[in-house]
Symmetry: C2
DNA sequence: CGTCTGATTGATCGAATTCAACCTCCGTGG
DNA sequence: CCACGGAGGTTGAATTCGATCAATCAGACG
């Protein structure tokens, strides 16, 4: 263990190309993994919410050229690679639990691939909103179909592979259908069932509330 | 262990929604994980080549509603969940190795997200060709910038989130630039450097030739 | 107040889809 | 040995979705 660390909005949590000497879990705030292309385009490949592991990759000798950025003020807890290595030596149950969290992340990646490859902008937006609400609710940061979304439309657009303009219009279409309200950073889902239906959202892939093997 | 199993082209290796009682590795042939939407659209979320683990997910209590299909004649080797469980109890090194292979899969997912979200159809196609060649070469199934690609353009299109027509035109554009040749199922990369450049391909994410931790 | 960031709107452009046809190769059966 | 049929690949034309460019607007904050 090596305590906690705080990051301001837009601060870099993991610098692209560098492998940190520890893994971290997000305690507060929203963060995201991203990759930048030559032309400057940015793809967000993962959104991290409180409770998520950020860097479970790094303790195995995996190399990545992507980075992690804080989308709001963030706090993380670090665990050194040595400690984690120790856990894998002596705690098979816990190891499987950690492994399982990386599998859930991969399942989310596959879901996003499906969104980006096959769904319309509007349906994909609906799906992502459902996912965020479900994940936040699981860690008691949302309830009553309301949550606080501290990230900008630009970030969301880079997540869904859309332009800000088009994402904005997708959101407005959802508003026009009375599925959601979105004011400042407060999102309210006014018709959960329809939003789920429109986004073809099935929370199975998030692997919540499951017993540990 | 429980031996090997053979599948014809188009056979279902894992039926959507079912969790098999074992995990499998692909010994021969190409296969893929997919998800179908209500409107019938299909997204391929992973391509499995010989040597790849197909189902490492399933031995941890993870649920998925996606399936795995054989794109060509395939042969798989099965390992029961019990055996694998045993490995995680007594073989931390091997456990980390297996875990690491799931992390490499996740890294590939993130790369595909970037392709689909930010790259043009042509660049994404180039990238995928580079990835396939690199992976096949690592298992001695490709060399000299040539490989055998037993899957159809429809499958490739569903992988990249494109229509067959547009994928076809992207391929032809690569041909026109003299970057590749593609006849029947034989693909020849005639200008590797340019193809890599055009697709912004960096094989780091594939995690090959790395020491095991 | 000005200024800044993020959201919104309009107009135009281009990439990718869709629909429909046609071609090419190859296996099969008469 | 050749006609037939089917799967996969190729092409063209019309259309649609989403991107781009450029302004404008709304609220927060010093």
């Amino acid at each position: 263990m090596s305590g906690t660390r705080s990051f301001d909005t837009c601060a870099s949590i993991v610098t692209p190309g560098k492998t940190p000497p520890h893994i971290s879990a997000l305690l507060e705030g929203w963060a995201g993994r991203y990759k930048i292309l030559r032309n400057g385009a940015r793809q967000i490949t993962a959104l991290y919410l409180p409770g998520d592991f950020i860097d479970l990759h790094s303790f195995l000798p995996t190399k990545t050229d992507d980075g992690v950025i804080a989308f709001s003020g963030c706090k993380t807890a670090q665990v050194s690679h040595e400690s984690l290595q120790q856990i894998t030596e002596t705690e098979p149950r816990l190891t499987r639990l950690l492994w399982r969290s990386t599998l859930a992340a991969a399942a989310t990646h596959r879901e996003w691939l499906t969104i980006m490859g096959q769904m319309s902008a509007g349906a994909g937006t609906a799906h992502l909103i459902c996912e965020l609400y479900t994940r936040l609710k699981a860690v008691r940061l949302a309830d009553n179909h309301r949550f606080c979304c501290p990230i900008t439309q630009l970030t969301l657009a880079d997540t869904l592979g859309l332009s800000t303009v088009h994402l904005n219009r997708s959101i407005q279409a959802l508003r026009a259908k009375n599925l959601i309200q979105w004011h400042r950073d407060k999102v309210t889902i006014t018709d959960w069932d329809q939003l789920v239906d429109w986004g073809e959202f099935d929370p199975t892939y998030l692997q919540m509330n499951e017993p540990v093997g």
